[in-house]
Symmetry: C2
Subunit: 476 residues, 2 copies
């Protein structure tokens, strides 16, 4: 191909532009080396110049191969800034906004070059599966996608595809926010009846955190229990630890090394903001998160088939990994994975940040008791209500910034009831205390039921899910 | 530790100094962050300043964290230069000297910070093993080492150790020079009766060359036959393909990721001259060549023992990998590998370069017929003789630059005969034609015997050598 974009949306961040210029430069060089036809070279050079002009517009600086743009993190300490008017920042390690409404997802779609999940797509999903789409879709919690129409085409044509999602096991403690992609993925597995692979990136956590390999693997096992408790079908689901699976699969490492051959340090620098002081493990890790996107990474499931497309439901902060994966896929002869992106689950304190597993009051944990849930919601859930009852009755509350209401959009399945609450709270008919009570009454049984299901998950069941094996599904 | 050198020889190359400064800087920062005692910080700062002064002396420039010294390759094309007076250059991909005598190995020992294999060490080896050391040791072909005395201590104290060597399978064609480390390693295995692991870096060759994974793996199998034909004991030898073993060992990847966590891009940039345009596979590969240095990479052989020291016989150009490995070892709680370094086997055209598998006339290949050997030696072996017989008789030949004589030092085992040839050729009593004839008569049966042994190596035998399994040896 003579154009690095190859039909992909035009890059808009300095990092993406830098990456595209580097790649397009390589294309021009190889066309010249191959003595390609003049018009082909001219067109590639034109594309290169256009990218460079855009780069200068966006960064105010000329392109310089030796100095990629820094991934302008909000500040060096990793602490979220609070200055008004700052741009949102989203990458796999930092999510930051200054707005109490949370990240501006419409802007993020433009910036990441993905597509909005609009009514047309939701309607098509409903038609294809013959049932009401999950409320995460109906309510815009999964709000962005890449190539979802390809997946629906495949399903309609009875062509196989599979699901891939994952988790970085950084501690034993998982909170309700961590369940979002798994709840949705289970629904996808049920309606499409397809195999699912779940990657536990314990190697990543070992590389990024102060953990031993044994601790990271221990978290994999504990987190796997919570994931299994979401109800996945053991006949259609394979959960794997990177640390373990790399050493027990004939196909996984081969794909990792294929991907690693086709991604340069300049590229991961641009996409992930790595620096020369980062360890070589971090630098090469993106290939390990990319590899499960390709079906022959799982020969026990798909044999040596390389043509089975993958659909990845994940939070939008993981998209950089899969933008990179989609860049590489055609170079190594594999289909690009499709994606469904979710918004972030807000911290109790407000939608400015993601929840933190290290702050017990920032979220509802899967181990919380009914009493803890009640106290946390009452004490910590940021309210969009007014300061006094009188004022609230008169002016009404603000659902857009009220964390209890946001949580209800995630977990209260009844659309009518949710709409009623919105109206009552907005009008002032419903008080903050009543709203919180409703949320508590939704969360308490949800968590209690999860805990009951998790209690049934024995080490042996975990082992079964984590054993590389054949899966049962329709298109075998 | 407050000193990055930690007993290691003081770094002398710009690359090593840069790396030490970076590491020492990190030590100073962490001491300050931990609020360590003032004298400890002062001593670390002093060491840092001393390194920076040395860096300026060696490079003529101030240390700048953002611009590591380039690994000043002789020129960009990769072609060997021939200008007189240039410094020798040695790294895993390029070996270059302007001297017909070959690399100046004494200088290389100083530059790499290794130790000379001197008479004292050779005498100790003879005492310890109770037999005459291999002629590769007696003749200085293996000329440099790290920590060989530790290995001899271990052997004397009946403590276990193991051997590790390897090959990058870049083509089916192996030449006699490729056999040197294997011939020597077989001798070490015989005299010490220890297990041996042989790494085939087919992943490396895939990353560096225009090869498919299948081609690289195919070369592994073909090259393994030539290696097995050297006579290794199947009960004590495990040969592995990286592409295959990574996916079949529970211990290997865990060590790879441990190493990758403790090496930064700055470090591999300094050691190997990688750039931002290199693929992330190359950047992380050094950890894969390092991992077999640690015994728990082979749980089927050593179970979970991490304390069994490793001895690596290899050509000196591989030392950068193991300098890095020795840096990392104490950080992850493993013993540093010991090394025995060989000099380079000269090309037929002269000792200025290593032989090249891509030029059939640059060396004697293991597939050459008796006739090809005769023709190649007669036609291409660079001669240290004089232009006319009269002149030669009068002035004598120069063994130091004569490739036929060099080859005899590798392959003619009889010390007395070799010494006689040296005297006769130097005096002019022996003519170049006679010297070449002697070499041909040594090489022809050597290659024919190798071919006969290789013919006996079936796919099944290769498979046995390459199956992860228990090995038999004394200290189990």
């Amino acid at each position: 191909m003579a154009d690095v974009l190859n039909g992909e949306p035009y890059p808009s961040t300095p990092q993406e532009l830098f990456k595209s210029i580097t790649a397009q430069g390589e294309i021009v060089r190889s066309l010249k080396a191959e003595k390609a036809p003049k018009d082909e070279i001219d067109s590639a050079v034109k594309q290169l110049l256009s990218l460079k002009i855009n780069y200068k517009e966006v960064t105010g600086q000329d392109y310089n191969a030796d100095s990629p743009p820094t991934n302008s993190r909000p500040n060096n300490s990793g602490e979220p800034g609070t200055t008004e008017g700052e741009e949102d920042f989203v990458d796999p390690w930092t999510v930051q906004t200054s707005s109490a409404k949370g990240i501006d997802y419409d802007k993020l779609i433009v910036r990441f070059g993905s597509s909005k999940i609009d009514k047309t797509l939701i309607d098509r999903i409903e038609r294809v599966i013959g049932q009401k789409p999950h409320h995460f879709l109906r309510r815009g919690i999964f709000f962005s996608h890449r190539d979802m129409n390809n997946i629906l085409d495949a399903y309609e044509n009875k062509k196989p595809f599979y699901l891939y999602t994952g988790r970085g096991p950084s501690s034993e403690a998982m909170h309700v926010g961590h369940l979002i992609p798994f709840i949705f993925t289970k629904w996808l597995q049920d309606v499409f009846n397809v195999p699912l692979v779940i990657q536990m990136t314990d190697d990543e956590k070992y590389l990024w955190k102060e953990l031993t390999l044994e601790q990271a693997y221990g978290y994999t096992i504990e987190n796997a229990k919570d994931i299994i408790a979401c109800g996945f079908d053991i006949n259609k689901t394979f959960i794997f630890s990177d640390l373990e699976y790399m050493g027990s699969s004939p196909g996984f490492y081969k794909n990792v090394v294929k991907i690693q051959k086709h991604v340069t340090f300049n590229q991961v620098k641009g996409i992930f903001g790595f620096t020369d002081s980062d360890c070589i493990g971090k630098i090469s890790f993106p290939a390990i998160q990319a590899a499960p996107s390709f079906s022959n990474s799982f020969p026990q499931i798909f044999k040596d088939r390389t043509d089975i497309q993958c659909l990845i439901p994940c939070a939008i902060d993981q998209d950089p990994y899969f933008r990179m994966t989609r860049d590489v896929a055609p170079k190594i002869g594999y289909p690009k994975p499709a994606l469904l992106h979710s918004s972030f689950f807000p911290a109790l304190q407000g939608a400015q940040t993601k929840m933190s597993a290290s702050d017990p009051n920032s979220s509802i944990f899967l181990t919380d008791t009914a009493k803890q849930i009640k106290n946390k919601v009452n004490k910590h859930a940021f309210s969009g209500g007014k300061d006094t009852i009188e004022e609230h009755r008169q002016l009404g509350g603000n659902c857009d910034i009220d964390v209890s209401f946001m949580y209800l959009t995630f977990f209260l399945e009844d659309d009518d009831k949710l709409e009623q609450i919105r109206q009552d709270y907005t009008s002032g008919a419903m008080l903050t205390g009543e709203l919180k009570k409703t949320l508590i009454e939704v969360l308490q049984p949800l968590i209690a039921n999860h805990q009951a299901r998790r209690k049934e998950i024995t080490e042996d069941i975990v082992k079964q899910f984590m054993t590389p094996r054949k899966l049962f599904y329709d298109f075998q």
